[in-house]
C-alpha cells in the first residue's frame, strides 16, 4: 500500500516536473523543474531497492549535470524568457501522445514471458552497492573501462571545443593570415 502511494505520488510529481521542464517558457523554471524531476526519480530508485543508483542519480544528475547546465545557462544568458517559435504544436503533441498511447497499449498488456533467468541475481544479504560493484568489476569491467575512455573523450572534447584556440579558425584563414597570427601569438608568449 505504501509502495503504491509512493509510486503514484512520485509518478505524478516527476510527470509534472518533466512536463513543466519541456513546456515552460522560463528557462530557469525549466532547469529547476528538471532538477526536481531528477531527484524524484531517485526516489523510484530507492523504492526499487537500487540505493546506489539513487545516490548517483542525485550526485551526478542533480549535482554535476544540473550544475553544468546552470553554468551553461548563465554563460548563454538564457535565464530570461525563452522565445521559441512553435509553428506546429499539434504535430508535436500529436506525435508524442500517439507514441505514448501506442507503447502504453502494448505495455499495459501483461508479459507472458516466463523463461527469464536472472544472469546476475541479487545476492541475499549484500548491500546494493556491493552487489553492483561485484558485477561491475567482473563482468562489466570492459564497459566500465570504455566508459572511462568515453569520459576522457568527453573531457578532451569539452576542453578543445570550449578552448580559446577555437576562436581563431585556421580553416578560414589564408596562409598569410596564419603566419601573421603565429607571430602575434609568439609576441604574447614572450
Amino acid at each position: 500500500m505504501f509502495e503504491a502511494i509512493a509510486f503514484y505520488l512520485f509518478a505524478f510529481l516527476t510527470t509534472v516536473m518533466f512536463f513543466i521542464a519541456v513546456t515552460t517558457t522560463q528557462a530557469l523554471h525549466a532547469l529547476t523543474a528538471l532538477a526536481a524531476g531528477m531527484i524524484f526519480i531517485s526516489a523510484f530508485f530507492f523504492i526499487l531497492g537500487a540505493d546506489f543508483l539513487g545516490a548517483i542519480q542525485i550526485v551526478v544528475y542533480s549535482g554535476a549535470v544540473m550544475a553544468l547546465y546552470a553554468f551553461g545557462m548563465m554563460f548563454f544568458d538564457t535565464t530570461r524568457d525563452v522565445k521559441e517559435k512553435n509553428g506546429n504544436k499539434y504535430i508535436v503533441f500529436g506525435l508524442s501522445i500517439l507514441a505514448a498511447v501506442l507503447v502504453v497499449v502494448i505495455f499495459a498488456a501483461p508479459m507472458v514471458t516466463n523463461n527469464i533467468v536472472a544472469l546476475h541475481p541479487m545476492i541475499e544479504g549484500a548491500g546494493n552497492t556491493q552487489e553492483l560493484g561485484m558485477v561491475l568489476f567482473t563482468k562489466y569491467l570492459v564497459p566500465f573501462e570504455v566508459a572511462a575512455v568515453m569520459l576522457l573523450v568527453a573531457m578532451v572534447s569539452g576542453i578543445v571545443l570550449a578552448g580559446k584556440k577555437m576562436d581563431l579558425s585556421l580553416t578560414l584563414m589564408s596562409d598569410a593570415e596564419i603566419i601573421d597570427a603565429k607571430k602575434e601569438q609568439h609576441k604574447k608568449v614572450l
Binding site: 509510486f7 518533466f18 531528477m38 543508483l53 547546465y69 521559441e84 561491475l136 569539452g158
Partner: protein, 101 residues
C-alpha cells in the same frame, strides 16, 4: 493495489513521451538538451524497475552506464554550444539552417 512492472513501464513510457515532446518543440538548444536528459531518465526508471522485479542486476548496471553517458553528452553538448554561442551569440536552432535541400 499491487504496483507491478507494467506500472513502471507505463510511467517510463509517459516520461519518454514527455521527453519527445521536449525534443520536438524546444528551439533553444540548451532546453532541448534538457529533454534528451528526460529521455534517458525515463528509461532509467524502467531499467531499475525491471531489475527489481526480475531480481537481476544488469538493469541497474545499464542505468549506471546510461548516467555516465548522459554526463559525457552534457560535456560535449555544452562544448558545442559554447563554440556556437561564441560565434553567433545565440543558441537558437532556428538560426541554424544554412545547409538545406
Amino acid at each position: 493495489m499491487e504496483i507491478g512492472l507494467n506500472h513502471y513501464l507505463v510511467l517510463s513510457t509517459l516520461l519518454f513521451a514527455i521527453g519527445l515532446i521536449g525534443v520536438m518543440r524546444r528551439k533553444n538548444l540548451l532546453l532541448l538538451f534538457f529533454a534528451t536528459e528526460i529521455l534517458l531518465n525515463s528509461v532509467n526508471i524502467a531499467f531499475a524497475a525491471i531489475s527489481h522485479y526480475y531480481g537481476d542486476l544488469t538493469g541497474q548496471l545499464f542505468v549506471f552506464f546510461v548516467i555516465a553517458i548522459a554526463a559525457s553528452e552534457v560535456a560535449v553538448g555544452l562544448g558545442l554550444l559554447i563554440v556556437w554561442h561564441k560565434r553567433h551569440g545565440n543558441i537558437d536552432l532556428d538560426h541554424m539552417s544554412t545547409m538545406k535541400g
